[in-house]
Point group: C2
Chain length 763, copies 2
């Protein structure tokens, strides 16, 4: 592991790079520079697309059969229980080897779930046992006696306060027993540079970490880079088992896709992360496809087939999960988030034919939750692309949209991808410490009850003086809320400090990080649940003359707003400002804390489907929301309850309110999920698609960050709930991901069905 | 793991503590306070001692038989290769169960060496393989693929410079593949408090680590205390397998010794440390023996038998070692260092009958290198004890002496014990990061040759301008030497920073640390080899008109001092000041560095037997010393070479020089080993013993720190080398430990035989 001089371009690379415009990317690892110098913007429409090949259809038939069997077995086709998953733990596996243009499975057979104990042996065992498998007793010994796991480490350091907050669900979903995920390796590097060059660069980085003093952070980074170097070697071995030598750069589009996928495959063999996103690959891969098309090596059918086969692989990613995890994030999401579209900082769009090709998989291969396709939207993007993306969204209910202008404004770069649902990350340069979320609706109840949990009656928060008046006074409540948020921010960040320290120690993501810069920016992601309930409750307290109902112990258990009050989601400036006030105060308190590895604090307004579990754990609210009812997902306004509560002024008013939330205070993303009745958009598909484009342009141009778009009538869901067999592949966007409707719990199906389905743009 | 209130004395403790003077020690973990309030100083002579019991003799016969078989098999009777050693990995083992008053073995049979891979699987495998055993392939997989070891971690972070310095032996003996050791658990706590109370205190400490911010050091300490808590639980389980419940305090002397030994046994099952010392236990145990004697539960025979059986266990400690390790530290030392004697800060001596009882084991059970008995000498100690210790030293050649006044002056406490050879440690409050040593003789040659190694010709040190004159100029050499020492200090401390970071991460000493305070003082021990060669060479350069001989490449390869010059070890003020000047400069550079966990830097003048290996790696020196000849061990002056070099003025002049070294600059200890011809001390044993006491009084009163005392004629060693079968148990003190002469390599035997054997006190 030594390189004295900078790597000159080897002959083999020169051959692989033939036809590419030269640049900085040859002298240093710089995928963006390669893209910028080589990509071909596509400004046309979707007419060039071809359908699925016969091989693709053959594979999809087989895959759909396997999906059916898997569905019949509660989402588990087979599980490994004998050997921990590593890059080289399994023999090669295939779907139909003769038909696959892109190969590689997580284990030795399709959909078989690997055994991943490094984040927590108990979780791995529970996943096995809840599905009727036994853990190999040797594995139990190894990971209990000789090899400590992340989960054990975390609980060795957690304070009783942390455990209490976790148990009472003021903090939920913490990655303390599973992988934190949300780290996107720059998998493109494998294709562009080959493993040898990447290893040389890591060797050079390793040599140049630390001067003068071996501080702990220098030692840690040196060890980490060595682990990355080792992981690259293992990637090579893994690829070799499939018959490929990925030492050198990919020479064709097929190799490029295969090399890139091997990088990702290594990551999902090594880590069961909370979100294993693949990043922004379409513009990059298009360069290879264009070159091969120009050379006459492939035609459009071939190009589409290669993309289809990659996408198929992403549909097959599986992780062993526990019932508790499935409650929180229903429908087995793995967030193989794939970002398409976007704009270059020089004003061109980054749209290529391959962005179309990825979108078209949802038509030709049927809708699917994974990969979690994310369109980086710009009103300045080519019209053909906008129209096509809107059309696919309308037909598949499987797309989400994010504001590419905001990404560049706040992250400074145009090579940004989305991890998980809404988390921006500069590809290859930035990693996130994922931190789940705090329930700020519940925190408001703590403020009223002096830190006592309204469900358990236990003192969870600080022992503040409870508010005792018959009616709630806004000034008193806001002051108490601030005190609660002060403590909660401290507890929350410290909990995450423990988690990320232990994750680095016991479950370091060597593969993903091997495909990123050695010196990274790190964000420290916190999250907020219940923003609309907290906002509306404070608005109720301020304007609604809220009477408090207390039990015999004096605990406030219910609230009656006696007057109406403005609420969030109705384009009301005061209500929207209240939401921003809460976020700003919380984020200010978050920023005060000490952060592991000097990571940069962020927060998100994103619950994924945990809004249901959070709601279950949250008592009656001053805005009139009933105990146990799901919180609004992400940044969504409350649903219209027919009384004081919720969004009553149509889609545009709702979008205006959400767009008003300050992204600068919530850099981990602001999630918004909408169901729009087709009739609200138009009378036929052309009208619907055109108007959807207008809605997206308008929303994003006024600063909206993200939109999950579902265009259907709620009656569709009623029918699907009643007759699931009729809708095996019905996919919808829930908060942060797409999911097959039949895979949601009944509770979550009901939550979705209760959501406002906007029948009108304005009311 | 929760304690809201302080532990009140439980009834069971009250019973166990009956008859003890009450004190602070009951309210907090404070063994010293217990000792101070309860011990009975003994000012008489050795007449009270009884001999070995029949059980003791029976056991010793068996043990000596096993030792013989072990010796015939190159020091290895049996090895475990199947399961990593933990506190509970093995069934109970016995020597002769019916005869043993104190039980407990490292594995399931006497002298069988455990498999200890946590510090390094390669080392563990090499130890097995070099002795003809195979590693279980599963263990190979576990510790290469799933459970990283200390050794792997270290080499992942080492810089090429570190590896080069290590390879060229400017740094040697670094604990990067074996346990750092030198950590003394306060094993007395097990006896005095029982495990339950200790666990409660650890739980309370754990609860109270960290406020406000979860920094990395807070998280680390919380995890460590939890690991300690877990280790205490395991200690209980281990003891239960031998039929003992050590939850509660020991009720009798036999229990006290057994409980204490279980604590130590846990440590040596869990760690193969560079030195697994047992600390200062005699005064403590005497309190229990006195109480039982007073109660008529035991008589002196019983008391001696209990001590004998404990000592026998300490003679049986074994660790699997590699050939390389044995080259460095010959004769299988494990440094079960046991400190006896000493003074209380209130002016009393800490000498008890049990201090005599430990010494007498060397007579009744024959001499033995282990435990490494260390007498903390004071001229104010009771005359009877001084005489007896001197007599045992003279007869056994198995004792070392340390200056107890210096210990209290510099460490501030009287409950100080010796770890390894000369490293002081405040029992239960202080741990050391062991750091082996740098070769300052070789460093001087680097100064002359511009950082090029005189043996390998490789640029190891900084590329300084080499000194090119025909004769060496002192000012030039000193300036260049300082530059070399600057760089060496930085490299050395950084190397140790890596080692200790990784040791904490991959091979944390939970058992030992469970028996210490949670908030520890840490010392960062560096070490110096070759001080006398460096000193004498600088004296030669200054006064001896040293001509340089260079090879064709210009590398200085030999030196000819043309005049005589004063040398260290002859009571010459200038030479002795030169030694202090080197140490002071080096230590000043050491102190400039960054230290892991803010440990306090120290250094030692101690080579153990590595002086031979260091000497082999060091070229010709300007003082006339020939290449390859062993360096002087520790702080010893050079031997008289019959020409300019070495100590020529007898024992007292030599001792005066060593005593002049500033302990404040070498707080990790200054080792001095002497062979005194009996004729130098007197005509008969009484005279010899009396004069030896005078020598020790004089040496220590003028600030000498340590003395290994060998009183014999060199002809004894010649005979033993020629006829090893006649001397199976001949034990001598080498630098830092005692060893059976027959277990030394021929090279090391020769080194010892070449040493100055003082035939006169003064010349």
């Amino acid at each position: 592991m030594s390189t004295e001089t900078k790597q000159s371009v080897p002959n083999a690379s020169a051959h692989a790079w033939e036809g590419f415009a030269v640049g900085l990317w040859q002298d240093e690892i710089n995928t963006r520079d390669f893209i910028q110098r080589n990509y071909t913007e596509y400004v046309g429409n979707a007419d060039f697309l071809s359908g699925a090949s016969s091989a693709t259809n053959e594979l999809m038939v087989r895959l759909n059969d396997l999906f059916e069997v898997e569905h019949e077995h509660s989402g588990v086709l087979a599980m490994e229980n004998d050997v921990p998953s590593t890059l080289t733990s399994h023999q090669p596996g295939y779907l139909i080897q003769s038909a696959e243009k892109i190969v590689g499975l997580q284990t030795d057979q399709p959909l078989k779930q690997a055994f991943m104990p490094f984040c927590g042996i108990r979780m791995a065992e529970s996943a096995l046992e809840s599905n009727g498998y036994e853990t190999n007793p040797l594995m139990h010994t190894v990971f209990n006696q000789w090899r400590k796991t992340h989960n054990q480490g975390v609980f060795d350091a957690y304070t009783p306060e942390m455990i209490l907050a976790r148990k009472n669900k003021i903090l939920t979903g913490l990655p303390d027993a599973y992988g934190r995920g949300r780290i996107i390796g720059d998998y493109r590097r494998v294709a562009l540079y080959g493993i040898e060059r990447l290893m040389q660069e890591k060797a050079r980085d390793w040599e140049n970490v630390g001067a003068g003093a071996m501080t702990e952070s220098v030692i840690r980074l040196r060890e980490e880079i060595k682990e990355q170097h080792r992981a690259l070697e293992e990637l090579k071995t893994m690829a070799a088992s499939y018959g490929f030598d990925i030492s050198l750069p990919a020479k064709t589009a097929q190799e490029a896709i295969q090399w890139l996928y091997f990088g990702y495959l290594g990551a999902i063999k090594a880590q069961n992360g909370a979100a294993m996103s693949i990043g922004r690959i379409s513009t990059f891969l298009d360069i290879y496809l264009e070159r091969d098309l120009k050379r006459g090596l492939i035609d459009e059918n071939d190009a589409q087939e290669l993309i289809d086969h990659l996408v198929m692989k992403l549909r097959m990613v599986r992780f062993a999960r526990t019932p508790e995890y499935n409650d929180l994030f229903s429908g087995f999401p793995i967030w193989a988030t794939l970002s398409v579209g976007g704009m270059s900082s020089d004003g061109r769009s980054l749209v290529t034919k391959t962005d179309f090709r990825f979108l078209s998989t949802l038509s030709t291969m049927g809708p699917s939750p994974e990969p979690n396709i994310t369109v980086l939207w710009s009103s300045r993007a080519p019209e053909g692309f906008k129209q096509y993306a809107a059309k696919v969204a309308e037909e598949s209910h499987a797309l989400q949209f994010e504001n590419e202008q905001l990404l560049r404004d706040y992250w400074g770069f145009d090579d940004v991808g989305i991890a998980c649902c809404v988390s921006a990350t500069v590809i290859g340069k930035n990693m996130q410490f994922f931190g789940a979320r705090a329930n700020l609706a519940k925190a408001l109840l703590y403020a009223i009850n002096g830190g006592i949990d309204e469900k358990s009656g236990v003192q969870v928060g600080p022992k503040l003086r409870p508010l005792t008046g018959e009616y709630l006074n806004y000034e008193d409540v806001w002051a108490a809320y601030k005190s609660i948020l002060d403590c909660l921010a401290n507890l929350y960040v410290n909990t995450l400090n423990v988690i990320h320290y232990m994750h680095d120690k016991y479950a370091y993501e060597a593969v993903q990080l091997a495909l990123m810069d050695s010196h990274l920016e790190r964000t420290f992601a916190t999250g907020i649940a219940g923003i609309s309930q907290a906002t509306d409750s404070l608005m109720a307290i301020k304007h609604g003359h809220v009477k408090v109902i207390r039990d015999v112990t004096g605990l406030a258990t219910d609230y009656v707003p006696e007057h109406g009050f403005p609420t969030y989601g109705n384009d009301n400036l005061e209500a929207d400002a209240m939401a921003n006030q809460i976020i700003d105060y919380f984020m200010t308190q978050i920023r005060r804390q000490h952060f592991y590895r000097e990571a940069k604090p962020t927060t998100s307004l994103l619950t994924i489907t945990s809004n249901v579990v959070y709601g279950k754990a949250t008592g009656n609210m001053p805005d009139g929301r009933r105990a146990g009812v799901p919180l609004s997902p992400g940044a969504n306004p409350s649903y219209d309850d027919g009384h004081f509560l919720g969004e009553k002024h149509g889609l545009l008013a709702s979008l205006n309110s959400v767009a008003r939330l300050n992204y600068g205070n919530a850099l981990d993303g602001i999630s918004n999920t909408q169901i729009i009745n087709p009739s609200a958009l138009g009378k036929n598909q052309t009208e619907i698609v055109t108007n959807l484009c207008h809605v997206l342009d308008g929303y994003f141009n006024q600063g909206g960050y993200h939109l999950n778009v579902n265009v259907f009538d709620q009656s569709l869901l009623k029918d699907a709930q009643a007759h699931p067999e009729k809708y095996p592949n019905l996919t919808i966007r829930v908060s942060g991901y797409a999911v097959k409707f039949r895979d949601l719990t009944a509770e979550q199906q009901n939550d979705v069905m209760l959501r406002t389905a906007h029948a009108h743009l304005t009311v």
